[in-house]
């Protein structure tokens, strides 16, 4: 037996393969491992879209709110404050006040201000609209990530995909209840608003249509516990959740969970001013368009803290507090794609594909042994090394193994021996031509090389294209196929050649063609 550079490289490759595939095979605590795809371990995959046009709308709305607050505070009389999708319009009744207003308006960014006979219009510039929409997506990603981080799942994935899509992957979701909780938490707008009840007209709310309400600058909202109870509130809120600094679960006198929130200084100011001026009226606490409570204002409320009471369980209250803390979604999100696999189905898939893998593997190994004898055994060693290398490389890169990825491994088993079939057939041909075994092996390798390379490269081209253009689980198939092909070049060509060279002295002494290559000679 003789060492040669090929067998050394092959041996190193096997050692590398064993060392780095062990953590995945034995599922050890430490070391880099292959991650199982959601289709194998169970979990939730979602592609979410963002209704960005809602973001500009809410931007306009909060602009209107701050204009109203500014006017109230400075005792400026304004009238006809209205807004649409892109602009806010109002009239300053005393033209002397316009100057004061102008300095305030000039601080608002991204709007074009026009003034026609004291009727002022603020229009969002196209650039600002684009920016707002872009921000809405980034903010949604940030918010969803914050919420999921507090949800208690290990390693949630939240990432932007394309220009305006959000990819969310949650592994390890075990029950439908858990999945539903996660989905609710993600999608909740968590938009908190304090709104003034229109006491002058509220008595007529049950006889009013939505259009009537809008004509008064009001909006009709339902009570969260009893949708039959309705409130007429001013459309422009006094303040919103953007001024929230904290939200926690607490308990009220009846030991029911409530949410205590705190406002920042600006919010506390606005809140104090408003309550001071509106004693005896009602203030509606509105969350996501539903009135949670509408208490009477008994006195000026300073300090800027408040409470939201609703009919929820402790778990719901906890999730709501998380949502409020991580901030409101500027724009609502919607489902573009969802794939959820239960853990039991994932386990079934693993079992089925393992059976296929082992079954295919045994068939191929047995066939090669019977048909090619020693040459088959050598090819089988290369095949096992190939699988180890494949697993090692995948572990090292932390690649994800999906169900199509498993199919890719199974297919690799079938195709990796191809190189050895080609080579051994060439060797057999040369032996028939009367060459010695040693010469036949050397020439067989060089004759077969171009064919093997061309064949492998074309398969590789198809796999790479599949990787670039494939999505989700299919990418996993492309990964295992590509690595499998590359690894087979090392094991099936270089490795087996090395083994033959190592056995050369034994081979040249022997005349037993049947033992070595399964032919009579």
């Amino acid at each position: 037996m003789k060492l040669n550079y090929r067998i050394v490289i092959f041996a190193l490759a096997i050692v590398f393969g064993i060392v780095f595939s062990l953590p995945s095979l034995l599922q050890t605590q430490s070391g880099k491992k292959i991650t199982l795809g959601l289709d194998l371990q169970g979990g939730l995959h979602m592609l979410l879209g963002v209704k960005t046009e809602e973001a500009t709308k809410s931007r306009i709305k909060s602009m209107a709110a701050s204009i109203k607050h500014f006017a109230d505070r400075n005792d400026i009389l304004i009238d006809g404050l209205t807004f649409d999708d892109k602009s806010v319009t109002f009239e300053v009744l005393d033209s002397d006040d316009i100057k004061t207003f102008d300095t305030f308006l000039s601080k608002i960014e991204g709007v074009k201000v026009t003034d026609k006979n004291s009727v002022i219009t603020l229009t969002l510039t196209p650039k600002e609209i684009k920016k707002t929409k872009k921000q809405a997506v980034s903010q949604a990603i940030e918010t969803i990530r914050n919420r999921l981080d507090q949800f208690g799942l290990s390693e949630p994935i939240v990432a932007r995909q394309g220009k305006d899509k959000i990819l969310v992957e949650l592994a390890g979701i075990k029950t439908p209840q858990e999945e539903q909780r996660a989905r609710k938490l993600i999608s909740r707008a968590a938009k908190l608003e304090m709104m003034a009840v229109d006491e002058a007209r509220n008595a007529r709310v049950y006889n009013m249509s939505d259009a009537d309400a809008v004509a008064y600058g009001d909006v009709i909202l339902e009570d969260v516990k009893n949708p039959k109870i309705k409130y007429l509130v001013h459309e422009i809120p006094i303040l919103d959740g953007g001024m929230l600094t904290g939200a926690n679960v607490g308990f009220d006198r009846n030991n029911r969970p409530v949410i205590n929130f705190k406002l920042n200084a600006e919010g506390a100011d606005i809140f104090g001013d408003f309550t001071g001026k509106n004693v005896g009226k009602r203030l509606a606490v509105v969350l996501d368009g539903k009135v949670y409570s509408a208490p009477n204002i008994n006195e000026r409320i300073g300090g800027g803290s408040g409470q939201i009471s609703g009919n929820y369980t402790v778990l719901e209250a906890k999730d709501l507090a998380i949502a409020l803390r991580s901030g409101a979604l500027l724009a609502p999100i919607f489902m573009m794609e969802k794939r959820s696999v239960g853990p039991s189905l994932g386990a079934d898939s693993i079992k089925a594909s393992m059976i296929a893998l082992i079954g295919g593997f045994v068939l191929v190994i047995a066939f090669m042994m019977v048909y090619y004898r020693m040459a088959g055994l050598i090819a089988n060693i290369a095949l096992i090394a190939n699988l180890l290398l494949l697993l090692a490389v995948m572990s090292l890169f932390g690649a994800t193994l999906t169900l199509p990825g498993m199919a890719g491994i199974v297919l690799t088993v079938g195709m990796a021996v191809d190189a050895n079939v080609i080579i051994t057939e060439r060797i057999r041909e040369l032996i028939y031509e009367g060459k010695s075994m040693h010469k036949a092996v050397e020439d067989g390798y060089s004759n077969a090389m171009t064919a093997i390379l061309d064949a492998n490269i074309t398969t590789l081209i198809a796999s790479v294209v599949l990787y670039v253009y494939g999505t989700g689980a299919i990418k996993g198939f492309a990964i295992t196929m590509s690595i499998g092909i590359l690894a087979s070049m090392l094991t099936a060509i270089l490795g087996t050649h090395g083994i033959y060279q190592m056995l050369e002295s034994k081979m040249s002494k022997s005349k037993n063609y049947r033992f070595w290559f399964g032919i009579k000679g």
């Binding site: 289709d39 979602m46 879209g49 439908p176 999945e179 539903q180 989905r183 993600i186 909740r188 919607f334 489902m335 794609e337 969802k338 794939r339 959820s340 239960g342 189905l345 079934d348 898939s349 089925a352 594909s353 059976i355 296929a356 295919g360 593997f361 068939l363 191929v364 066939f367 090619y372 169900l403 199509p404 199919a407 199974v410 079938g414 195709m415 191809d418 057939e425 004759n447 171009t450 064919a451 061309d454 064949a455 490269i457 074309t458 398969t459 590789l460 198809a462 796999s463 294209v465 599949l466 253009y469 494939g470 999505t471 989700g472 689980a473 198939f477 492309a478 196929m481 399964g518 032919i519």
Partner: protein
């Protein structure tokens, strides 16, 4: 052990007319099936919803239909068995965009009272994502064919490239015909199978072509038919054996790999058979048909060798300082 030991080359080219006829019939039949039955696009490409439900006992499909009837959400729903008798799939053409309200939860509530069951999988693909995936899939198919064509043209000769692409189109057409005939759901996995088939079938063709190229350069014979017959005969063992090992593994995948991988394995199974056949009986005769000129190729090679030699002579002269 040895199955393929031939003293004389087999007369493949003599049978090529029959093979061509069979292939043309098969391809035309595939297109006819595709035209009449069409492809059964699954939710990946068409958009829609799939809910996979597993019962503890045999799934009461009739009772399920009864329960879902009248519910607007399930208007377009079809219920079919999926693998075992306990498992069923509910398919809908609609895709709900709501994040908080889920069709899986709705199904669970709607099927209450039909027995003990579990909702094991919910897949929703919105129409926008569906059309995007379709676009991307076609792009992938087109790009890989183009890339392969360029590679083969570069490595061999344009007639080899065209012949192999025609063989590929032949294989893909028949595989798609089979997918249409058995009304298999065309999803991303079937596309992956088609792309794998491209690589695999070409792999086979290239091994044969490589031998033909070798035969053309090495032998002094000018008769392409003889060269092709000899090359195919010599690679027959490899073609058959590799196809056999690949067939083994794909077949075990088809039998035991589970219902989800079924469509993938089926497409590949058909593809392997057709791909093996086409590299022997279609791709090689096409070379003849395209009029590959062996003599011309020999002169070209000779000229190339002459130019190389000339270049080398000049370089040597230059290096030894004669010029």
């Amino acid at each position: 052990m040895e199955f393929f030991k031939y003293k004389q080359p087999l007369g493949f080219m003599g049978k090529s007319k029959i093979a061509m006829a069979i292939s043309i019939i098969l391809v035309l039949a595939s297109y006819a099936i595709l035209a009449t039955k069409g492809l059964n696009y699954g939710i990946d490409f068409a958009g829609g919803t799939i809910v996979q439900v597993k019962y503890e006992k045999k799934a009461p499909i009739e009772a399920m239909r009864e329960k879902l009837k009248g519910n607007k959400l399930f208007d377009s729903a079809t219920i079919t068995k999926f693998g075992s008798p306990q498992e069923v799939i509910i398919r809908m053409k609609t895709a709900s965009a709501s994040v908080s309200k889920d069709i899986g939860d709705v199904t669970r509530a709607a099927l209450k009272g039909t027995g003990n069951f579990k909702v094991r999988r919910v897949d929703i693909v919105g129409p926008k994502v569906g059309s995007e995936l379709k676009e991307k899939g076609l792009m992938a198919l087109f790009l890989s064919v183009a890339a392969i064509l360029i590679y083969v043209a570069f490595r061999f000769e344009w007639r080899f490239a065209v012949a192999s692409i025609v063989a590929l189109i032949h294989d893909v057409s028949i595989a798609m015909g089979a997918v249409s005939l058995f009304q298999i759901d065309v999803n991303l996995d079937v596309l992956a199978a088609i792309l794998t088939l491209l690589g695999y079938s070409l792999n086979d063709t290239i091994i044969v072509f490589d031998r033909i190229r070798e035969g053309i350069t090495k032998s002094k014979k000018a008769n392409l038919t003889e060269i092709i017959n000899e090359s195919i005969t010599r690679t027959l063992a490899r073609t058959t054996l590799t196809s056999l090992t690949t067939f083994f593994v794909v077949f075990t995948l088809f039998m035991f790999g589970g219902e989800i991988i079924h469509a993938f394995a089926f497409t590949l199974l058909v593809g392997i058979i057709v791909g093996t056949y086409s590299s022997v009986f279609i791709a090689s005769p096409l070379l003849l048909l395209f009029g590959f000129d062996v003599k011309g190729y020999h002169t070209k090679l000779a000229e190339k060798a002459k130019r190389e030699a000339e270049k080398n002579r000049m370089r040597e002269q230059f290096e030894s300082g004669v010029m």
